[in-house]
Symmetry: C5
Subunit: 279 residues, 5 copies
């Protein structure tokens, strides 16, 4: 009971953890996709026969072939993880580096006022931020600082590597999609060329054949490649936020002066994200 109260008091002092809303729309991804596909749809509709661009079997062979070939290169578990990975480029939950730095500074001040043990009471507020929670609870448990550094660094490098592997799957799929489009177009061309008696069938035949090249190019250049690039960008940002938490946890553990921690954190943050806690 006392604990909850203390926690509530602290919470009002520290604010929400890491300034992270549960899940945030990535406006750049959304607007970029909407804009590019909107223009594409407009161009297709203005051309007068939008149904000519919808060919379920062609779409199936390009999509399915890309998924199949990518599966060979990785494992079934990796493939099962891919949709959620891709979704994170649209609804990403990367905390803000500045907000995290600010929050860690508050924790550092609290730790100075009430002792490291006092942070015990705010641990349960950090359930949305397992990494910060782990970092703080290691400090609260009195783990030696050297061990904290090793454990947190391993966590960070593992998380980064695991996510880069996911981005690698998107990159691989972006490579495979145009190849599948080309292979399907070759199938269509061979079928059309073996059947030239009816001249009126040549045009539509070639149109259908080209459609798979179109699907492959759209899938690769307008979806997979940019999502992989955005994912790599997010990974770098999450690594920065995790490093902010790591440096702060070490500082709290050393019961450093929080002003020194502010200097350390600002040295890691890009200019636009620098914080002004004590001045």
């Amino acid at each position: 009971m006392a604990r909850t109260q203390a926690s509530r008091a602290l919470r009002s002092e520290t604010g929400s953890v890491g300034g992270r809303s549960p899940s945030r729309l990535d406006h750049a991804t959304l607007l970029g996709l909407a804009g590019a596909f909107g223009l594409l749809a407009t161009a297709i509709v203005l051309g007068g026969s939008p149904h000519a661009f919808v060919d379920a079997p062609a779409l199936l062979i390009v999509l399915g072939g890309t998924v199949g070939i990518t599966t060979i290169c990785f494992s079934l578990q990796d493939m099962a993880r891919l949709p959620s990975v891709a979704a994170r480029t649209l609804f990403h939950a990367t905390p803000d580096a500045a907000a995290t730095a600010f929050y860690m500074l508050r924790l550092a001040e609290l730790a100075r006022k009430r002792g490291i043990m006092g942070l015990d009471q705010v641990l349960e507020d950090m359930q949305n931020e397992p990494f910060i929670r782990k970092a703080v609870s290691l400090a609260v448990d009195g783990t030696p600082i050297e061990e904290i550094r090793i454990v947190l660094e391993r966590e960070i490098s593992e998380a980064t590597e695991r996510q880069l592997r996911s981005a690698g799957m998107l990159r691989k799929a972006a490579e495979v999609a145009p190849a599948m489009g080309l292979i399907s177009t070759l199938i269509g061309l061979v079928q059309m060329l073996g059947n030239l008696e009816d001249p009126s069938a040549i045009g539509p035949g070639m149109a259908v054949a080209l459609l798979t090249t179109f699907y492959g190019a759209v899938l690769s250049n307008m979806v997979l490649s940019p999502l992989a690039a955005k994912l790599e960008r997010n990974i770098a940002e999450e690594e920065l936020v995790a490093n902010v938490s790591k440096v702060a946890a070490e500082s709290i553990c050393r019961t450093d002066n929080p002003r020194r921690l502010e200097l350390l954190l600002n040295a890691m943050l890009p200019p636009a994200k620098r914080i002004n806690y004590f001045s």
Copy 2:
């Protein structure tokens, strides 16, 4: 006799070596290949004339040319090894890293209970795992720990390099196949163009010419390239398993506390593969 009995007792204690079934189907490779080629076949059959896609001479020149050019770049022995290498991407026998770590922990416990010499009796169970067997028998023979490390590291780096060379052959063949397809298509085009009197022969002529480009693209993008990628993935996994055995053999040799070995091994394993032996 006594030895066999002891061995049997130990075996029930240690379980099967490395958790490796003699040879395991790689479901991702199988499903990926089946899916992608299934879609291809469907697209071809739906097009109405599947026989138009079977042209033995065209297939022969692309396949044979790819094999021939790849042979020039390597040696006859290397080429003879290629099919078995490729087969390992489908029926691979990579032991599970977690199971190997678990097994090595059991051995470490045994070595603590009965002395390193006691491991002598389980050596014959490890016949499917020559590397683990070598690592353990070096420890049992009382080889100095520094020498164990050097011998095992040389074995690992040599095995890795040898297998990467095999993956390199698949990569090279994946590069050659589309070139052979293009060269054959050029032959077909020149033959067709020299013979334009009969207009009804133009279509089928071009169809046959394009077929080799199709074969080259399929061979490269749907078979050779993904198998090379899968092989490289498997090689990295086998290297990890071998390193787990190496670290464990060194620890057994030092008669370390197995709890410390568990820590060391978990530091090497990815999160999903971490083991919980003592807790």
Copy 3:
């Protein structure tokens, strides 16, 4: 009052800061763009039907698609910064390295004559050169030399990285533009091929389809790629100028002999930019 007078006296001694006119046209960029686009326009006009090359929807889809896909890969703030970044390749304000070195040598001489504190009075002349101003004011404030080095190096590396990221956006857009051109051309081809009844429409249909490939190629090869290359060149130059200021500020702080500073600066400058202050 006295201060302004002193400052004015000093200003006449030191000259304009860094020899930088407020904003200088980059003649190479301007002439190169004008020449290349002039030739293009001439070729189009001589062909007799310039209006055939203006197709607003085609232009919109290539431009808009490139902007959209590039937006996915970065963030909205990054995109908002892009026009001003691109403009800096045309109206760039990179100070001249030799002029900056000359100016810093004058400051070093002044500091020797009147003491470092004496530089206080020229600080306000440096408002167009925030980096030099920061470097000099750190020296004037008596900041320890080691800290000056760390602060200035962090500023330089951050500025360089931030600008390289902007150049990376131009590079990414240069990659996306031809892909968008190809995708739009495929749309045009499919539309044209589905509609072959009217033979007189085939030519114009293909012409319009090819137009987007043309737009994509022009945008990438004649605008985005060269601007990215020029930007990278400017970034390297600005880094050099900033390093000249950093080395000079350290030297002023050490109250080194200005002749030694001249040697140090000449070692950093390319032969054509070397200065001859004392000889």
Copy 4:
């Protein structure tokens, strides 16, 4: 006289130097080339008009152009050396690494039995192996071991670099050939397009134009590229053999125990080439 006798006795003890037959056919290169070109010829002959593929001027422009452009990038001496370099991929004289190791072990044993000076008498047997001869004669001359290492390492790195430069010429030519093929095809197309009045000439015109692309693709993908890859492979093997001789010469100079030399050499050799001299 006595010397010759001693030499003969030793020769029967040491066997032929380095196990190298004067010049050995590289079966992989031969079979690969024969197979790939055999299939090509079959495809051409089955098509019915093999003479359509022989066009001396087209062949001349692709071959000559490739030679000319490659000459610009290098020097006349380099070009003169190219045929013999290329021939070495077919009739290569790389000694066997295991045989060299075996031979060096025999020399080491001899040196132990009769002293290093005793090797003087076998020097003349090594005329086909100038590198081994140089290594052994340096040891016999009593050169300090440190100098032996420097001299031999310089020889090895120079020989490797020189040969890699030759392989680089083949790689460059493999890059130039398709470009020359394309340029010639463009010439043919322009000539054909300027002369469309006679429709029956269009087909053969395009056939001849395509022939140069075909020549360029065959020359690059089926000859130059694989020969460069084989050459690079041979260079790595010769470097290994030279390093075996270098390590052995150093060991002989130190009058090490030959058993230790065997260990050292086996550590350098791949598993399939390891030797078993003393066991």
Copy 5:
């Protein structure tokens, strides 16, 4: 007067500086260009209508566009320097490394006989070799050896970098030329396709459109790329010659034994260039 006499005597002893004739034709560049362009011209003339390959506007747009775009990426000064840079691949003045080494050995002998000051009298013979002159005059002036090394190394690395930047301009232009060719071809195709009423104009229209692709391919593959490669080769050679001079100047400054200098220089020279001064 006495000085000139002494100088003349020395000159006859030391020979011409660096063995460099004022400017030497690069036979490989000349023959390669002549051969490749000769074959091209023959193929064009044999085709019967050489005038079809001369189209001034097409040539202007490809050449001018390439120059324009390359100008954007660099600066006007850089562009002004390009012709003389390109000319140096045809009439290059790289001194021979062996001749330079020989000359430096003579200087070293002279310095031993008459003292370093004695070299003062031959300095004026070295006006064609500013780098050797600078190296020798530094030694004559009694500059400390450490400073000589630093000054000469900075000169060498700056000269190398500056020349590599020039080679980079040729590489960039080689990249731009085919893109300009493609863009011009697209212009030609769009113009032709908008004007299909007159069937007899289709062929010539396409021929003219393809001509720019031809110009771009020739410019890039047969001129710019090989000249850049030759330039990079020459730069590496000049760097070697400069390093020979640097090492010799240091040795002269230390009044080393010239025999030791010969060893040092031979260690830097490729086998074909090694000198035999004292044996």
